[in-house]
Symmetry: C2
Subunit: 317 residues, 2 copies
Amino acid sequence: MATLIAPTKHSPVEDAETIYSACKGFGTDEKAIISILGHRTAQQRQQVIIAYQKLYHEDLVSCLDSELSGDFKKAVHQWIFEPADRDALLANEAIKKAVPDYHVIIEIACVRSPEELFAVRQAYQVRYKRSLEEDVAAHTTGDIRTLLVALVSAFRYAGDEINERLAESEAGILDDAIKDKTFNHEEVMRIICTRSKAQLKATFNRYRDEHHGTRITKNLKGEGNQGDDFAAALRTAMRCIKNSNKYFVKVVHNAMKGAITDEDSLTRVMVTRAEKDLKEIKELYYNRNSVSFDQAVANNTSGDYKDFLLTLSGKED
Amino acid sequence: MATLIAPTKHSPVEDAETIYSACKGFGTDEKAIISILGHRTAQQRQQVIIAYQKLYHEDLVSCLDSELSGDFKKAVHQWIFEPADRDALLANEAIKKAVPDYHVIIEIACVRSPEELFAVRQAYQVRYKRSLEEDVAAHTTGDIRTLLVALVSAFRYAGDEINERLAESEAGILDDAIKDKTFNHEEVMRIICTRSKAQLKATFNRYRDEHHGTRITKNLKGEGNQGDDFAAALRTAMRCIKNSNKYFVKVVHNAMKGAITDEDSLTRVMVTRAEKDLKEIKELYYNRNSVSFDQAVANNTSGDYKDFLLTLSGKED
């Protein structure tokens, strides 16, 4: 369930006017911006963007980019877009890094539904005049490239039907690859990149049953492979497919556990999940860490950025 | 342009009634079936299927399958479906063969527009409860698998913009691979499977300019590679992307040049192109072979099958 609190009715024109005043006055009124944008659904935000353009002949996104700063600015920038467009943006940022951030790309490819991923590919082309897989392929090499291109290009079957015999045989193939440490075997790629999520869950469960309850991602880790980019990428894909909430709890926990907070990861999870399942992620976070998620966010962030994240997380004004 | 001659108005109910009488009388009236179905657009044919179901509580496709026979039956069966659904059917048939018919799969992946290919992937899942790439991957191995899965999973950028510098550098990469006979190099895969068709055409043109007018598909052929499945698959992909009409002329020419006609290929080209660009394909066929396409079809086929193909090809009743 979503954590976002949004009114059923809102006036896009009034919203645009409030944001305009907040931006154009003496100093920026961040609180006003949060009180509007932090309480609007994706569709409502798009209406505000349109109203703003009509009223002031100016792009709301560029306006906010120039008025806000730091992590707050980044969070609002990501938040304001529709999900598919935002994912296109996140994927492009991840690809363009000196060392592409594989995990963000894998997260988008493996957490989103097949139809949602296709919408991301469409949005990517509108934005960048290139295909997502084209850019991923051009910025990566070797096994990682093969894996990432296949993951972002997948249009998995979305039905619930599973084939138990197939799960058994493919759990065996994965087992052999893990034992031989040939994670890059083409059969492993085929299974992880083309099977439906329901089928893969059955396969991972089968693996676990046959290994006295040990998860496949644990064995895939193995000794000496800690630093292996490819094994790490494969583990991320498996985690995203198996249980995305659990995966996101891990991401936000890692983002906040050290001395330095990883704001980019925290922002990404919160803006992409606030309208989806942040409620379940928060509950799972609490169960795992015995500290409330909002408390952890409050302890690790500050200022308008903190206020904005807590608003997305369901804090009443 | 299409060769199909279809009325702007038709009565789906009357069509269904005529076909019913043609099927249920003493002996089947194939001429009547051709005179209806050979003159209806994809949308009109779907309306006839619906009307038939409503009137007789029977599936028109199954009915025709049981009444017709041979190549005529196969052609009508393929023709009756909507394009994306038909492609899903053709791809599945190609995959299921003891040795998958790579060229059909490549043709569908590389000739259709990116949006059309995605519609095929959707239709495939509705029909078979699996993804197209999943089935392609499960029935192939090695480099061919990597190539085919990437081609069917592609969602290429469809814009016309090209990057000349990129065309130059990637023509160089292809040149090196051809010289080294390392066609399966991952860079070759990346270029052929992810770049837009407009960009690839620019790259192939660049290659040709730098090789005194010799086409890349000619050099890729090379000596000793004649029998190489992978090189042949790559050539088919390149031909489909470069100029699909020329490619289809080659397919139908090969289908009809020997002592034994390859009806499957001839049927496939005609049913998939009759509503698209069979007119241009016929013209190009004539320019290349100095014999009219319809004459060639008439010489190499017979009976109802011949009548049906010639009807699709624009013959007036």
